[in-house]
């Protein structure tokens, strides 16, 4: 590496300096040799932190991450890695599978051999994979190191600038004008400075030399952008802190109240509604199809105030909020958000209001309320009769030995076994099995089973339980049921504020850096020879226009194009 860091102007520069920090004379041998080459003006040629004479291990790591080249590699590898994840469906989108073998089978069936390889390589979980997350962490590290490595030297270089620059520094900029001056130098430079001020440059002068500068702040744009990105990345990583993040699904049928797991809250769906577009609102190619216009869950949120953890007592609930949850309108309460995810059209009985009848006379003894889900009592008084609930099968079926059993805890085919006591009934009571669901299969079971009780002598066939007038004016009567089950997504995401702050900072930085450009113009007069150089980090077109305009107003007509010094540079 290049050793002599003392410039002819007397300034002692740190190792790695390309252009003298003070007068701007090129120090780098390569730059000195090729006199026509344009100067490398990044960070004004000052040394970066990473450019040390004897790098240590820590320095080496630092140096690795401080290189923009490495950053670009990281970005490109991340980009390619991310694209691999879009080839086939990701596992995370298959919400009804959990086991590795299920996933493996899915990829095999859907995509064949390629799918098997894809799954085996772990590409079906690209975005959760260790290598992808490592890449993101490395990008974050690179962002921090790269920015720190440059921002301080750049700050130093820009905050103490010399006005009078070396001639080589001026004539090797991207925008250059060299000519002879007919006017009195001092007075002309003053006038020229005035013109630049009208273009909002800040102007400094020092015996026949001038420095004009504008929009320096835009140089900080990239760094502010990077700070925003770091905050964003940290927030994303922060989401893996368990208490910061919750993501689960809850299904509710109409009328159901359920605890939101892991919280003190309970949620109830009062009603679920779906609206479809009518035919006149649809486009021609959609007519006759059902296109959903709106679906919503009318929800109530409760907070448990007492007996919350007591398995024996009913929890005491206090309503805290009501909201119509729709796809674009979540219920939010104290950091908890409940979103409409999807729904299923699935009829489910909630309760019935049946009548106890005398089969022979048709006489009705009275009615009672029967809840399907968890019958809330085991004895019902109907007129003079008492019905004791002996057994309850929410999802009735027969096992291999033809014994009754329940297939699940959902009331898909509920069956109630009553023992009826009262006037004129044998002392051990009559057994009656009741199937409220009004379909053939249930009614068939009801008939056959009661028949068998009769044969056993437990039942005389005197009683019947059934819902009377089940339909009135086309609407269900004496029967309460849920038509839809709603699926809600419950979320807590404490990182969100940081995500938005990071994004906002990043955006501010981008706007600063891209919609304003740092422009500088150096000028010096030696005898009657005028030398002017200009530099900008972007938009040299604009800078040339500024210079040509100011020169023109000070009596030197040039076309902006002729100021371009990049002619031979590529």
């Amino acid at each position: 590496m290049f050793q002599n860091t003392k410039c002819e102007c007397g300034h002692q520069n740190p190792i790695g300096t390309v252009l003298c920090e003070s007068c701007g004379k090129p120090l780098d041998e390569g730059l000195l040799k090729d006199e026509n080459a344009q100067l490398e003006m990044r960070y004004d040629g000052v040394a970066r932190r990473s450019q040390k004479a004897n790098p240590h291990v820590v320095d080496r790591i630092w140096n690795f991450f401080s290189s923009v080249k490495i950053a670009v590699y990281l970005i490109v590898i991340t980009l390619i890695g991310a694209s691999l994840g879009t080839i086939f469906q990701q596992e995370s989108t298959l919400i009804n599978m959990t086991e590795r073998s299920e996933f493996a089978a899915f990829y095999k069936e859907k995509y064949g051999t390629v799918g098997v390889i894809y799954h085996a390589l772990g590409l079906s979980r690209t975005y959760e994979s260790w290598w992808f997350i490592t890449l993101l962490v490395m990008i974050g590290t690179s962002l921090v190191v790269c920015s720190l490595d440059r921002v301080l030297p750049l700050y130093r270089a820009l905050s103490k600038q010399q006005i009078r620059k070396h001639l080589q520094f001026i004539t090797r900029q991207q925008v250059v004008y060299v000519g002879t001056l007919k006017d009195e130098p001092k007075e002309w430079v003053g006038r020229f400075g005035q013109e630049l001020k009208r273009k909002r440059y800040r102007v400094w002068q020092e015996n026949g030399a001038l420095l004009a500068e504008k929009n320096r702040f835009s140089r900080w744009g990239p760094y502010i952008n990077h700070i925003g990105l770091i905050i964003f990345l940290l927030a994303v990583l922060g989401r893996s802190i368990p208490s910061w993040h919750m993501d689960q699904y809850l299904s509710l049928y109409e009328g159901e109240t359920r605890q939101i797991p892991g919280t003190n809250y309970y949620l109830k769906s009062d009603k679920f509604t779906v609206d479809y577009y009518n035919d006149s609102e649809l486009a021609n190619n959609q007519k006759g199809t059902k296109v959903v216009k709106l679906y919503e869950t009318q929800a109530r949120l409760y907070e448990c105030t007492d007996a919350c953890d007591d398995p024996l007592a009913e929890p005491v609930l206090k309503e805290v909020m009501q909201h119509e949850i729709r796809v674009n309108s979540a219920l939010t309460y104290k950091g908890l958000s409940i979103y409409q995810n999807s729904y299923q059209e699935r009829v489910r009985l909630i309760s019935v209001h049946p009548t106890l009848l005398d089969v022979g006379t048709g006489e009705a003894f009275g009615t009672f309320d029967l809840l399907m889900d968890h019958p809330d009592r085991n004895q019902f008084q109907v007129g003079d009769y008492t019905l004791k609930l002996n057994d309850y099968y929410p999802d009735f079926s027969l096992d291999e030995q033809k014994r009754p059993m329940t297939k699940s805890r959902d009331p898909n085919n509920p069956a109630f076994v009553f023992r009826i006591f009262g006037p004129g009934v044998q002392s051990k009571g009559e057994i009656y099995i009741y199937f409220p669901l009004p379909n053939e299969k249930s009614k068939y079971y009801e008939q056959v089973l009661n028949e068998s009780f009769k044969i056993r002598g437990d039942n005389t066939g005197r009683f019947a339980v059934k819902v009377e007038n089940p339909i009135v004016d086309g609407k269900m009567n004496n029967i309460e049921y849920s038509e839809y089950t709603t699926y809600l997504n419950i979320r807590v995401d404490k990182a969100m504020p940081y995500i938005w702050v990071g994004a906002a900072i990043s955006m501010i930085g981008l706007i600063m850096g891209f919609y304003w450009q740092h422009r500088r113009i150096w000028l010096r007069v030696d005898g009657d020879k005028l030398s002017l150089g200009g530099h900008t980090n972007k938009n040299s077109f604009g800078l040339r226009a500024d210079v040509a305009w100011a020169l023109g107003r000070s009596g030197i007509e040039v076309s902006p194009k002729s100021l371009d010094n990049r002619r031979n540079s590529r």
Partner: protein, 420 residues
Amino acid sequence: MKWWLDFSSDAFMVAFYLYCASFITFAIAVGGKRWSNRKPEDHANRWGKIGFGLAVVGWIAHLTFFFTRWYGGGHIPTSNMYEFMTFLGMAIMFAFIIVHLIYRNMLLGAFALPLVVIIVAYASVFPSEVQPLIPALNNVWLKIHVTTAATGEAFFAVGFAAALVQLIRVVDFTRTDKAGRRSQFWTEFSLFVIIVLVGFIVAVFAFRGAGYEASFTQEKVTIADDGTALSEVNKVEYSLPPLVAPYNSETVVFKPFLGMSKPLVEAPSWLNGVNAGRKLNTIIWSVIAGVILYGILRLIARKKLTAAIHPHLSDIDADDLEEISYRAIAIGFPIFTLGALIFAMIWAQIAWSRFWGWDPKEVWALITWLFYSAYLHLRLSRGWQGTRSAWLAVIGFLVVMFTLVGVNLVIAGLHSYAGA
């Protein structure tokens, strides 16, 4: 309402023809310098001004289309492929007008306008009827997201147009070494790809105009969770003569075409999606039409197309083009970041409860963004300015187009609009 929608379609046709006229005028500005006895700069300026004027009037007609359709349809027209593509065309015109006003470079119009014409014609391939919104799309943030993202992409498109001119400008046809030949080939190839896209549009409209149709039924068997086999019969309609039939399908209707009365082949089994066969067929037709078109153009030019265009670009400076291309991208990058990522995240958070879900469309927006940020970082070092940077601008726009169109065609996700 109906009246507004009809008026809107008329405005759209007006915009389309004005864009075509503007393109021809710009082409005369660039190509016809030796026809008149005026000074070449005067010629270019004069025709360029007319071309720009036509473009602006066309754009106003396009805006009229957009707002009347918005009013007539009851929601902002950005919610299906037709509407999105026409919006993109309008945004590219906006970006072009801005960049033109900054740089006043006549050449740019000669390349940006055909791009807009192609995009607008491509939009017309999709059904143009107004469709009602599904609940998830009914959100202001979605509208803000789609419009800003498209505006950012439009600046990338202008950057692409400038970069392509730059590449054609700097191709050196005298070079016969490997690197020289390679750059000649790839520049020509870029034009060829564009011509294939034109071929696609021409093929679709030619067969649609002739009323061509064919359809198939495809039976698909899936095994449900409880082990029962569900068989589903789907109907697939073709508007281009089926060279490739859907996998495992029965022909329902087949209008004979040039003596062909049944499909030549059936799509391979791994392309077993409902529309996969049709898409493959479309791609094959596009390439066929593209090759024919390219062949005709080559016969007219009697040399490589780039070689035919190249001489007309000689009085423009490659550095200026590179600056325009870079500047357009630099203007577009923050807009794209805001629209395609930040607004998208806000919308996703409101609608889907997660600001990011690794949905293919989201991932490709991220890839686009990473690609352009790599482009910007590479430009920080001198070696990546000039031709290399122009190639990146060209590839970048390919990535943009894949994100917009390719993802819908190849991979379907949450965002995929109906149609395609």
